[in-house]
């Protein structure tokens, strides 16, 4: 067996989900006997069989990923309960193993996966989806870059029907539940435990208690901007429908006139209602530093 084959075989086994008692499976999910595979590659010693030696890596793999995923999606876990969350996390991480060198991106494909797999959130699919989207936006906004802000002197260069450029740390979410309030409440109840995102430490797993049961909030349409201030503080800012639609179009690179049109169409409102508030909205967004200078030619 050459190096490439050994690595492929070994990672294939390490990424197999654990048994309910957190051991290595006897058969892979596609039915191959794990002992036979492992015995060909790993040497036993006087205390551990080949199977037991690789099991250490198998366990550490899942403990590390589940722990990181749980830290990133504590709101989703609070909604679903620990057991259902862990089932969801294991299925997601097995189907879509990390393709990034950093654990930061573990949840990058969760929204799309949840839309395809509602069976993991049977009681509250939309609430769970909204919470996952909000928590991923929170992660994504945290370490985005910051570009030079648009100054008053730059406004004259934008033309009559301007296209605006925005900071990379703004995400818009159209939510069916007030998960912003819920997440803040959940976080207030949880002890903040700050750990490095990436570390070379091999960890043993801490078994999480079930925790407080959170009641499902009433449905409420919430239009939200997740953004950053002072370089590091993340805020959830609720927007009026007209402002949300306008901003969404502008973020997609539409010129102002088209963005206004989209806002009118989306809200079924009057154009006067939008143009009448433009000054106030732009002043607010500008004060938040959301606009940035156009990229250099």
């Amino acid at each position: 067996m050459d190096l490439a084959e050994i690595q492929k075989v070994m990672l294939g086994v390490i990424q197999q989900p654990l048994t309910p008692s957190e051991g290595m499976r006897k058969r892979t999910l596609d039915g191959r006997p794990v002992k036979k595979i492992v015995d060909q590659v790993i040497k036993p010693n006087d205390r551990l069989t080949s199977f037991e030696r690789l099991e250490i890596y198998n366990r550490v793999y899942w403990f590390r990923l589940l722990s990181s995923f749980m830290e990133d999606f504590s709101g989703l876990r609070a909604i679903l309960g620990h057991r259902a969350f862990e089932k969801l996390a294991t299925a997601y991480l097995y189907e879509l193993p990390s393709e990034s060198f950093t654990l930061r991106n573990l949840g990058s494909r969760l929204e799309a996966w949840l839309r395809k797999n509602p069976k993991y959130t049977p009681k509250t699919p939309r609430l769970a989806l909204d919470m996952a989207r909000l928590e991923w936006a929170d992660i994504d906004v945290f370490d985005q870059g910051e570009l030079p802000k648009l100054g008053p002197g730059d406004l004259s260069t934008l033309g009559e029907d301007p296209v605006f450029h925005f900071q990379p740390y703004i995400r818009l979410l159209d939510l069916a539940y007030p998960v912003d309030d819920l997440l803040l409440e959940i976080r207030r109840h949880e002890e903040a435990q700050e750990n490095d995102i990436a570390s070379n430490v091999v960890v043993e797993r801490t078994h999480e208690p079930q925790g407080k049961r959170w009641s499902v909030p009433k449905r409420e349409k919430v239009l939200l901007a997740v953004h950053r201030q002072n370089g590091e503080d993340i805020f959830f800012k609720r927007l009026e429908p007209e402002a949300f639609a306008l901003l969404r179009a502008l973020l997609r690179g539409k010129p102002l006139s088209q963005a206004i049109e989209e806002s009118v169409n989306w809200t079924q409102g009057k154009i006067e209602d939008i143009t009448g508030q433009l000054h106030e909205w732009f002043a607010n967004w500008s004060s938040l530093g959301w606009f940035c200078k156009p990229p250099a030619e």
Partner: protein, 306 residues
Amino acid sequence: MPANRFNGYTDYGVGIGLRIPHYNHILEKKPVVDWFEIISENFMIDGGRPLRVLDQILDQYRVVQHGVSMYFGSAQPLNREHLRRLKTLTKRTKTPWLTDHLCWGSVDGKYSHDLLPMPYTFEAARKTAQNIREVRDFLEIPIAVENVSSYAEFHVSEMTEWEFLNEVVERADCGMLLDVNNIYVSSQNHNFDPFDYVNSVDPERVAQIHIAGHSKFEKYILDTHDHPVLDPVWNLYARAIERAGPTATLLEWDDHIPSFDEVHQEALKAKKFIKNKAEEKPVNGNGLGRPYAHPDPPYAAEKARV
């Protein structure tokens, strides 16, 4: 040899890992620390708090980058996006040398986020050395590779771990980050004498040393970085310093992290060994455990305590 071409001819002393729970203490109290080691991957980002903190640290401290996912030992090509981001960070930190592990951890773009052990074969040594050379050529800074703790061995291995390490660093002409805690952990898991390891590596290639704590389980030892350094590891450290000379040393403490002062005080114990070496005093009688001479079979001694 405090300074050599593998650590950018620097003489950095004793540092500690920069960890989030200590950010406020460091920025507010500005403690005197020889240097900080950062986990590169935590800062290979575009903005936000991590980079703001890093910039404040860089204003006042020397920083060395340590990576956990370059995977020098991977049979497949290196991740170019990873390399590009890493190079951007090296320009920010001006790290005089860069370290990552003698391991692999991904296949076909799927990541384990672990430091998986190498089969000790000549094929693996050739491929690993080639990867290290590619990284060094791209980053244009000295590279040192770190030996990992391991819990498994391979049927195909053709040499010992230390022979493999020597083979790789000679082929790549790079330095080594000698982790004496990892040597100890692996020695217990694989029944070898850790002093054979330390005595066999080329001392002129040692760019840096890691020390850390570990945890004992019934049938193996795990590299957990959540304890003070244990005596057997200090003994190995003393021997490493005796062979390599006073060398940049870093205490890793990554889980159940105590106060900054506690971590720093633990790290500073290393200074006694460095000072003794510099003054060529015997290491005995320093209150840090047994002398470096290794009279007992290490595995037997540890097994009795399990």
